[in-house]
């Protein structure tokens, strides 16, 4: 469905550029749900932005259903069915939630449909459709509206960048059900950048991205076992490899 070949991305100024993505290749299959996880700074968000056309890789190729879209701009990729929910969504003074979702769907949306969409991200439509997408919304509310802008589109590829960030535990349960539904009921290939166990649990495949490379691709069972093992083995002590000689302050 979406294939990336030898993607190399450098960001920063010419004299001080950082190699963010290093020869990444992967084939995302139709109707599957992928979770990309890994440490901060590993290149996850940058990879998502490469999918959407926000970052242009210096080297490599991106194919959507066999069509080379490497040189396509953001708008063209959106028209072809790629969507991206921002990690930190922008605000729009004077734009209502209804207007933003209408722009996302590329058509006016009836109240009943708006209700269903907002309900799926844990918001009550009555309270939100005429609110403006500005500073009056909290970070969590903004984030849920951002997710709704992707849910309202018919997409081939839907990318969600840390959907859990800023969302309370109760709402997040609802949101993970929404991802599950989208996965079960649509043909969309879903790519979620996440560290959340509940999201990892939804994955058909988990991709671990670290230091700009794909470190591991495995099943959720394997990753979950590893997570469980790492927390079981954690000694919270001085002899931990990660905190060698540095854990004194931490354990008091």
């Amino acid at each position: 469905m979406l294939e990336i070949k030898d993607i190399n991305l450098n960001l920063g100024s010419i004299d001080k550029s950082v190699n963010i993505l290093k020869d990444i290749s992967f084939n995302f299959e139709r109707k599957k749900l992928y979770v990309i996880t890994g440490p901060n700074g590993g290149g996850k968000s940058s990879l998502a932005k490469v999918f959407m056309g926000i970052y242009k890789p210096q080297k490599g190729q991106i194919l959507l259903e066999g069509q080379d879209i490497t040189d396509f701009n953001i708008t063209k990729r959106a028209e072809l069915g790629i969507g991206y929910a921002f990690q930190q969504p922008p605000k729009f003074k004077g734009m209502s939630v209804r207007k933003l979702l209408g722009l996302a769907a590329r058509r006016p949306i009836e109240n009943t449909e708006l209700c269903a969409i907002l309900h799926n991200v844990g918001l009550c439509a009555q309270d939100y459709i005429d609110r403006e997408v500005d500073n009056s919304l909290s970070g969590g509310e903004l984030k849920r509206i951002e997710i709704a802008t992707i849910m309202v589109k018919k997409l081939k590829i839907a990318v969600f960048d840390e959907p859990e960030a800023g969302i309370d535990l109760w709402s997040f349960q609802k949101l993970s059900e929404t991802f599950k539904n989208l996965h079960e009921k649509s043909d969309t290939t879903i790519i979620i950048i996440s560290h959340q166990e509940r999201i990892l649990n939804l994955a058909d495949q988990i991709i671990v991205l670290a230091d700009g490379r794909i470190k591991e691709v495995s099943s959720k069972e394997k990753i979950m076992t590893e997570i469980a093992a790492s927390s079981r083995d954690c000694m919270y002590g001085k002899d931990c490899m990660k905190g060698a000689n540095r854990n004194d302050e931490c354990i008091g």
Binding site: M52, I74, P90, F92, K93, G94, K99, L103
Partner: protein, 305 residues
């Protein structure tokens, strides 16, 4: 009225036909239509050009439209209108000026509007300015608005200038008595080599008076905008000015905030920001399928709504 007059009227007063209620339509310096109601009287001033608009106490849910249209060039139209908004009334007043300048010499309209919003009255005042015309003649609008709001009165102002005005020098002076409330929404867009000055001075004279000013503007091309706001707190009062401008191309925006507290319980806030359209706003809308131009237009339309 011809088609052009109707178009200008629609732009400045949202009028498609002759309005219901009281109205006075002024074209090229002369009145071309007037209607009064049992509660709203419109009288031509004797000592100078202009009108006295008298709204009886207790008048509810009525409106007055007093649009001005200029459709010839080489004209300077000056009016002095006085509005008496009677005690306990609740009315909508729509003013505004539309200019179509077909030639190469200047069309100018200078309007002084003076309002007395009496005890407990509620007035919404909408003023729209619009100009068009392909000639080189400058289209100039200089409105001066003076409002006195008595005890418990409410004045809500919408001042909008969206297109075509080459030069504007706008002055708004407001005095608020006890428990009086003021809400101003200002929207301004300049392009080409237009320039616009807006000066708003609000005196919060009475106890518990409140004022809120939300000003948003977009400056494009080589246009210039200058804003000056001053909230003067003379009693226990609250005032808030929020002033946002989007700057594009080679435009220039100057914003001068001033808040003056002359009483220890005056709470006054001024927020001002000037900046370009944020790139992540453009990227977000493009990622929804809009082109860069559509995204820019959508952001500006929302901002100036």
């Amino acid at each position: 009225m011809n088609a052009l007059d109707k178009e200008l009227l629609e732009k400045v007063a949202d009028l498609h036909e002759i309005p219901i209620g009281a109205y006075n339509i002024r074209k090229n310096g002369e009145g071309i239509g007037r209607s009064t109601t049992a509660n709203i009287d419109i009288v031509t001033k004797k000592d100078k050009p202009g009108l006295d608009i008298i709204i009886k106490p207790g008048t509810k849910n009525e409106s007055v439209h007093i649009p001005v249209i200029l459709s010839s060039n080489d004209i300077t139209d000056v009016v002095y209108n006085t509005f008496e908004v009677g005690e306990g009334s609740d009315v909508l007043i729509v003013a505004g000026c539309g200019i179509h300048n077909p030639g190469d010499s200047k069309s100018q309209h200078d309007g002084i509007h003076e309002f007395f919003v009496r005890k407990g009255a509620k007035m919404k005042y909408v003023e729209k300015h619009y100009a068009q015309g392909e000639g080189k003649g400058k289209k100039v609008l200089n409105p001066k608005t003076i409002i006195d709001v008595e005890e418990g009165g409410i004045a809500e102002l919408e001042m909008i200038q969206i297109k075509g005005v080459d030069h504007t020098d706008r002055v708004t002076e407001i005095r608020l008595q006890k428990n009086a409330r003021l809400i101003i929404t200002e929207r301004l867009l300049t392009s080409g080599s237009q320039d616009a000055d807006s000066k708003i001075i609000v005196e919060l004279i009475g106890e518990d008076s409140t004022a809120q000013i939300i000003s948003r503007s977009v400056a494009q091309n080589n246009s210039k905008q200058r804003f000056y706001f001053n909230l003067v707190g003379k009693n226990v009062c609250r005032g808030h000015v929020q002033c946002d401008s989007i700057i594009m191309h080679d435009a220039q925006v100057f914003s001068t905030p001033e808040i003056s507290a002359l009483h220890q319980d005056a709470q006054l806030i001024h927020e001002a920001a000037i900046g370009r359209i944020a790139s992540n706003q453009l990227i977000k809308l493009m990622s929804l399928g809009l082109t860069e131009e559509e995204a820019e237009e959508t952001i500006l339309n929302g901002f100036l709504k």
